[in-house]
């Protein structure tokens, strides 16, 4: 009986539950100026991970920006992220809850200049 209890407790202790949600696609993560040339430089993935006791870590602008910056840091000179797919994963292990915020998209290089708009009034 004792052995069964220990096995049961171990099963609960080492089991975990996680679920991933697709949050959708955004055409762009950063503003791109109309007076700019934007050139894609490659496909990138960025992750933000945080563990909290008892409750799930909240998704804040800091979480988003950290994941976007992580993705951009893996690109070759990209400064904006376009066509971004976002995933939210919550893993629960006993009282620990881990948030994994993942973004996948195209890193692009934005070169801002000046358009000739002097023709109007």
């Amino acid at each position: 009986m004792k052995k069964i209890c220990i096995l049961f407790a171990a099963a609960i202790l080492f089991s975990n539950c996680s679920q991933t949600f697709y949050l959708g696609k955004s055409p762009q993560a950063h503003f791109t100026y109309p007076n700019a040339n934007v050139e894609p430089v490659g496909q990138v993935t960025g992750i933000y991970k945080k563990t909290k006791l008892f409750g799930p870590p909240p998704v804040t602008p800091t979480v988003q920006r950290t994941a976007w910056n992580d993705a951009l840091s893996k690109s070759n000179g990209g400064n904006v992220l376009i066509n971004v797919d976002t995933y939210y994963k919550l893993s629960i292990f006993l009282i620990f809850q881990t948030l994994t915020y993942r973004v996948e998209g195209t890193a692009a290089k934005q070169d801002v200049g000046l358009q000739n708009i002097g023709g109007g009034k």
Binding site: F21, Y22, G24, K25, P27, Q28, T32, Y33, P34, N35, A36, N37, V38, I82, N83, D85, T106, A108, D111, V112, G113, L114, Q115, N116, I117, G118
Partner: protein, 130 residues
């Protein structure tokens, strides 16, 4: 005789209740207007090609279908496929409908209606300003 008529009425009532349960459903709809399905490059020429629509549908038993990347891509591709050379959908209505049927059947529907457009990416002259 009365007992027989009563029995018949009860059976008929049960059949009506069963049929109404079987054919009734509950739909929850949620929608928004989306400007563009893909990133629109400032250094591009975008040409509207006409109205288009796309649909994606999935029915499951017990657990409602989840919104996945594959579903979101499929509804856009479905709308794009209706116009040759379309690259992007502009100003579209995006509606998600979850229909709950009796006996734990669920249908998730995605619908979009918007303008299909062709996007040709080039390079604009941005050195000419004052």
């Amino acid at each position: 005789m009365i007992m027989k008529r009563f029995k018949k009425t009860v059976i008929l009532g049960l059949v009506v209740i069963f049929c109404s349960l079987l054919f009734s459903n509950c739909a929850t709809e949620l929608g928004t207007v989306v400007l563009n399905s893909e990133y629109v490059y400032p250094n591009s020429n975008v040409k509207p090609l006409g109205r288009t629509s796309g649909e994606w549908k999935k029915t499951t038993f017990l657990i409602p279908p989840a919104l996945t990347k594959q579903a979101a891509d499929e509804v856009i591709n479905n709308a794009l496929s209706k116009h040759e050379s379309a690259d992007v959908i502009l100003d579209y209505d995006y509606v998600v409908t979850l229909i709950t049927y009796p006996f734990w059947f669920y249908t998730l529907k995605l619908n979009i209606v918007g303008t299909a457009a062709d996007m040709e990416v080039g390079k604009q002259n941005i050195g000419g300003g004052k």
